[in-house]
């Protein structure tokens, strides 16, 4: 009798593990940080890829961080947001977009000059450009340059975002786009964008085309002010990217229903 009970329990446990394993395999890779940002890529259902053409938006005029390099190499431009965006729960109306593939929560170029040309790994890491805001979205942080491919940077606000956010509500978004950009010492054209949602504060990083490194030398992630929290989806070659893919970062207050809310490992994903 005892033996039969043990056998039954054992069978149940095996079945549970089998189900869990199936779900875990189905879930896309994810990362977390202290604050609670969760990152998923478009290899799973948690994050979709749907590139938006923002070239009709405002052309961002970069200002060089210093006299050492051109503005397209190490420079920044202020993006005035049409609606507030919260990064790590802190609301702001302006960002500085860097030629080096990141957005910083800063009001002007004296607070963030965009000149940080070296990706850090892991996150959080205190940024080392002269005027640096630590609160950042690292779309593709590396030593990038717009000059080799005659690239431009754009920003555009959409009252209803053409790319539906994963939370499932219609909401506005701002798109910051690096078009015909390049990573120094790499071949190929980098076309990418950061889609910032103004209601759920989701961040969708979308990669239309990639340089030859395929993101191996770039840092992709988020970081809070004072570098107290950081979430590196990929850095230091830990993950490569593919063209026509996306990486989504979800604020813990707005976790989409298709994402398991507890373990983040697929166990309770429906």
């Amino acid at each position: 009798m005892m033996s039969a009970l043990v056998r039954l329990l054992f069978s149940f446990a095996i079945s549970f593990l089998a189900v869990a394993t199936v779900h875990a395999q189905r879930s896309a890779p994810s990362t977390f940080d202290i604050y609670g940002y969760r990152a998923y890529d478009s290899s799973g259902p948690q994050c979709s890829y749907s590139y938006i053409d923002a070239s009709g938006g405002s052309l961002l005029n970069l200002t060089a961080a210093s006299g050492a390099a051109a503005a397209s190499d190490d420079g920044g431009a202020v993006v005035n947001l049409a609606a507030p965006f919260q990064l790590y729960g802190v609301s702001g109306n302006t960002l500085v977009a860097s030629s080096n593939g990141y957005l910083a929560a800063a009001s002007d170029l004296s607070a963030e000059d965009g000149g940080d040309f070296s990706g850090d790994c892991p996150l959080p890491a205190i940024a080392d450009n002269s005027a640096a805001s630590q609160a950042r979205i690292y779309a593709y942080h590396a030593d990038l340059d717009g000059a080799p491919n005659l690239g431009n940077m754009y920003a555009q606000y959409f009252a209803v975002c053409p790319r539906a956010g994963e939370f499932g509500v219609a909401e506005a978004c701002t798109v910051v786009q690096w078009q015909n950009w390049a990573e120094r010492s790499q071949t190929g054209v980098l076309n990418m964008q950061a889609v910032l949602y103004h209601t759920t504060f989701e961040i969708a990083l979308q990669y239309q085309t990639l340089d030859a490194s395929q993101g191996a030398t770039a840092t992709i992630g988020t970081q809070s002010d004072n570098a107290t929290s950081g979430n590196a989806y990929g850095c230091g070659g830990s993950r490569s990217l593919a063209p026509a893919t996306a990486v989504c970062f979800f604020d813990p207050r707005y976790i989409p229903v298709q994402i398991d809310r507890i373990f983040g490992n697929g166990f309770e994903t429906p």
Partner: protein, 710 residues
Amino acid sequence: MVSSVPTASNPVTTIWSCATPPLARQLQHFRCPLPIGSSSVGIFVPILRVSREINRNRLGKSVHRIRNKLNVSFALMVFASLATGNLHAQLVNGGFETGTLAGWTLGGQVHVAVVQSANFNPGPVAAPEGTHFAAISTGPGQLSNTTYDVDGNGANEFDMSSMQQTVTFTSTSSPAMLLFSWNFPSSEQDQPTQFDDVFDVQTTIGATTSRVFSGSACKNDGSSFSPFPNVACSGSTLLNWTIVNAAPITNTSLRYGVGPWQQACVAIPGTVIGSNTVTITVRAADQSDNQFDSALLVDNFTIQPNCNSAATTLQQITSSNGANVQVKNGGVVFTPVDNGPPLSADNTGTAFAFASTGNYTGDNPNALQQIFVYDNSSYTRVTGLTIASGGQVEGVSLSGPLVGSLHGRYVAIAATLNAAASQQIYRWDRQTSTLTQVTNTTGCANKNPSISGDGSRIAWETTCNAFTGQGTTQKVVYGTFAATWSAPVNFMSTGTPAASCKGFEPHLSRGDTGNFIALRSTCNLTGTTPVATLGDIFRYNISAATWLRAATTETLATTNNFGPSIDAATAGNAGRYVYFISDGNYFNVTNDTQLEIYRYDFNTSTLKQITTTQAGSGYISVHQASDGTGALFSYEFVNGSTNRFEDGTGNFNGTTLTLKLGATMALSLNADVGVDAGNVPTVLFLSNDDLKSPSQNADGNTEVYSARTP
């Protein structure tokens, strides 16, 4: 009432003098300028801090980082600390605590005795270790006409006595070091030059005898007949002491009393790692006549692998290595990983705040200078204040006794957040991770903060007209925290001439609410002139709004007074004692212009010179502990004869002083003190020396060391 040094009530001081390991030769000079406008003593510091760009030509760019990998292994540190100091076998009765000369063989006139304080009339003479020590006397009076020539100058010496011991030991270092305390009071101090009594210490291995230490009598006129160096004077006042009840040296006359004890640490030539047999011989003799007496007092002979006190627990706390190197547009930016200079201990010495480019919390791979707090075994970064590239931490001050659940809960910080920012004052609450900004100014500087023990008050130097109303003239102001920070209080407004006189080096009383501020100022804050050109030491009582000056008889305009450190006592003793450094000759001691430690008692208006050093040496910092006793402090001493820095702790009870060496090094940078639950003082300091064995700092980075001195 100002007492003078050479009296019976004077402190017995201890001064270290060490042999010169090869690395010490790298430090050929030190200087202690104290210019107006500087807030701290400037010392030539050959620490490399490189952040340079080479060749701005664009050569393409790549990023190379030498990532700093922390190798802080506390288990290893503990092992290392236990592994040092192993010397098997020691001298017999090296401290004379048997009350006898057991183990020692006497020679010459055999006028040697074991004595203690009661054997000096009137005394006292505190033993540097235990209660007993040995005295080799050239008296009393004339003993013999047998002649000697100990110092080899061709002149006869008389009344020579010696003591000798042969010891076999196993050394873990080569050479092994001989440590002992010594004192050479002499009645020849005011006698003609040729009566220059001498002493020496020799070591013999096999057939080779080496003189490892020597000295001759102090002379009031600075003259010297013997080639042996003059020792420091006991004082300049005739006291007519005698040794009593200590046959055979009873009635030895010591006309100038007994001055400061000193410590020697000398290499024993020829010693090897492994087994050694060494004969140690100590001699004293009366030069040119056999009349006026001298006595060599010695104590605590030990053989050690290094100069550190045997009881000291020396630890290298931080362990930084590597650097951050970035190549951009053909330019190279090299930033070494390093610690300091800002460093401040809590009241226990187990926690400290410091500036560093290290990556102690994993979020500083780019080697930007940040503020960290070490507390027992873990590091935290002051995350509320992130310093960007080009920013700098100018100063930190850690609060003291328990507030909430933390010792050293609050950190006062002076920093520029980036290259373009103004220097501001901040306070970080470690318990709530809350940063408050105390100042918000432009075009002026706020620096050198000092925080009260409870963290509720900060005093600092400022050149901000908004705080002082005196343009850019540097003053000291303070702010008090309730729900928010008060407006800075310009309490130096009474000083004259207000428009040009300055304030420096504020130090709030620690362990309380910071009701007292000690500082250096060129202002006439008490209405008593003159004030030294470079500043005098003052104390301000905030609650009573009253000033007092550490009154002295020294009025030379060139006198350097600096580094005031006030106590944390309470009730009637609150704010009573201020320690400071000065090269003033307040007690009219011949040729005494060395940098010495002084203590001023504001309750009795009494100044004490508590150290007496030899020419070319001096104390460069003193920090009073916040234990409320007014007795314990840390010190940094530059030994001019060895070109070595010596850091340790002192205990001055108003009469006698005991100094305990923490460590000697080629370079020390900043020191602070705490007193732990066992009432043991610990000196914390920065050094780029590799002080531990086995090596822990081979790359020569500046590290934080802790030396507990029971």
